[in-house]
């Protein structure tokens, strides 16, 4: 038996409504990456994570559990699970993250904050008020729940006096830049991804990496937000030769990640198809979306090295 569609979507939407995130995590886990960086609270310009990188270790653990029950009679328990989840946060019991994975994903956010500082941007951070954007619930067609959440996120940002958001992943960028303005009258926030900010500021590399990578574009950056050149400019500036796989840039092939919440097996099959294309182009791959990173890595079985683009950029643009 596949995972019950309605109940799975219901759990995710209930979590967003009751706990502000599709998969609630503690404020400590969400903000741990920023410890020691001295980022001021709030401000006109903030780095906005939308929790995407922090959530991935939890989502991975949750998907493992989902994968184990998908196509088994246990899948039917999601019905009971939805009822119980309204009162007890059962998703937190199912999603126990690996600490090594948390460190890795926290490290990506540290890279991004360092890159921005190196480019002369001193962003603030909203710490526990840096809320999830609602991307997954929007994708699943829960528009009413999303609209209510979007208003909450916007009110929160206005209360902090934020004017400029620097986002770190494609999904949050798309939600805050293209989806929210259609839902909220008078929406007036300026949203840019950190790669756009770095490219605009003509960030200057401190060293040349003399390396070569295959680039995997995110569908959302490439086809929803038209962010295609910035990542190439930054990598080239870092002394990295960019190799293009079959289906690249605006015609990039999806990593399969968006199918993960309802059909984990289909998501892996799609990722395997993309991994074959990437493998044919080279052995080192960069991604710029946490969902792409984790989904491709799962399908690659260590046959290729996959890193977030910020890892390469920090090596080249930041002091050691």
């Amino acid at each position: 038996m596949p995972l019950p569609t309605g109940d799975t979507i219901g759990i995710l939407a209930d979590n967003l409504k009751i706990r502000n995130s599709v998969l609630p995590i503690s404020a400590g886990s969400a903000t741990r990456w920023a410890r020691g960086l001295g980022l001021p609270r709030g401000g006109e310009t903030v780095i906005y994570t939308g929790l995407m990188y922090q959530l991935i270790p939890y989502i991975t653990s949750m998907n493992k559990a989902q994968g184990m029950i998908e196509d088994t009679p246990l899948a039917d328990f999601a019905r009971v699970g939805r009822f119980v989840n309204r009162f007890v946060n059962i998703s937190s019991l199912m999603a126990i993250p690996q600490s090594a994975m948390q460190e890795r994903f926290d490290g990506i956010l540290v890279n991004i904050a360092r890159l921005l500082r190196q480019a002369g941007v001193e962003p603030g951070y909203m710490y526990e008020d840096d809320l999830y954007s609602g991307a997954l619930v929007y994708d699943l067609g829960m528009d009413d729940v999303l609209e209510e959440h979007a208003r909450k996120v916007y009110r929160n940002l206005k209360n902090y006096g934020v004017k400029n958001l620097i986002t770190v992943d494609p999904h949050t960028t798309n939600m805050l830049r293209s989806v929210y303005p259609a839902l909220i009258k008078g929406y007036d926030l300026n949203v840019k991804s950190y790669m756009e900010v770095l490219a605009e500021r003509h960030a200057w590399a401190l060293r040349s990496l003399e390396d070569e990578v295959v680039i995997h574009d995110s569908c959302v950056y490439a086809r929803y937000e038209n962010v295609v050149n910035e990542q190439r400019t930054l990598l080239t500036g870092a002394g990295v030769t960019v190799r293009e796989p079959a289906d690249a840039g605006r015609f990039t092939l999806c990593c399969g990640g968006p199918a993960e919440s309802l059909y984990p097996k289909k998501a892996v099959a799609a990722a395997e198809r993309r991994v074959e294309q990437l493998k044919a182009a080279g052995s080192k791959v960069v991604t710029m979306c946490p969902i792409c990173l984790v989904n491709l890595q799962k399908a690659a079985h260590n046959q290729i090295n996959i890193e977030d683009i910020s890892v390469y950029l920090a090596r080249a643009y930041c002091p050691e």
């Binding site: 219901g10 829960m142 289909k266 799609a270």
Partner: protein
């Protein structure tokens, strides 16, 4: 025999967003779909336009399997808002079938 709901396309939602009628059934979307979903989106949109509500409801797995990656949309010669149309179908199923 098929049961036809003549108001189905309107029920799917915001008519300005659901522009399935622009589809000229060329099949490029099916050819480039990374999930290999033959039904999506052109046949599905045709079911909506023809009012075949049952057919749409029976294909809910296909509708939720779509990655919304817009590969089809980037290649569509008719400029159909495929991803938004699929999201509209999810909104409809969430309300009508799953009571969400």
């Amino acid at each position: 025999m098929a049961l036809v709901n003549p108001n189905f396309a309107e029920e799917i939602g915001k008519p300005e967003a659901f522009n399935a009628s622009a589809c000229m059934n060329c099949g490029v979307c099916s050819a480039v779909c990374p999930m290999g979903i033959e039904l999506l989106p052109r046949k599905l949109f045709r079911y909506v336009l023809l009012g075949l509500e049952d057919k749409v409801q029976k294909n809910s797995e296909t509708i939720y399997s779509c990655l919304l990656c817009k590969m089809c949309e980037a290649n569509c010669p008719a400029g159909v808002h495929i991803a938004e149309n699929v999201r509209s179908l999810r909104y409809y199923l969430n309300k009508k079938v799953y009571n969400l």
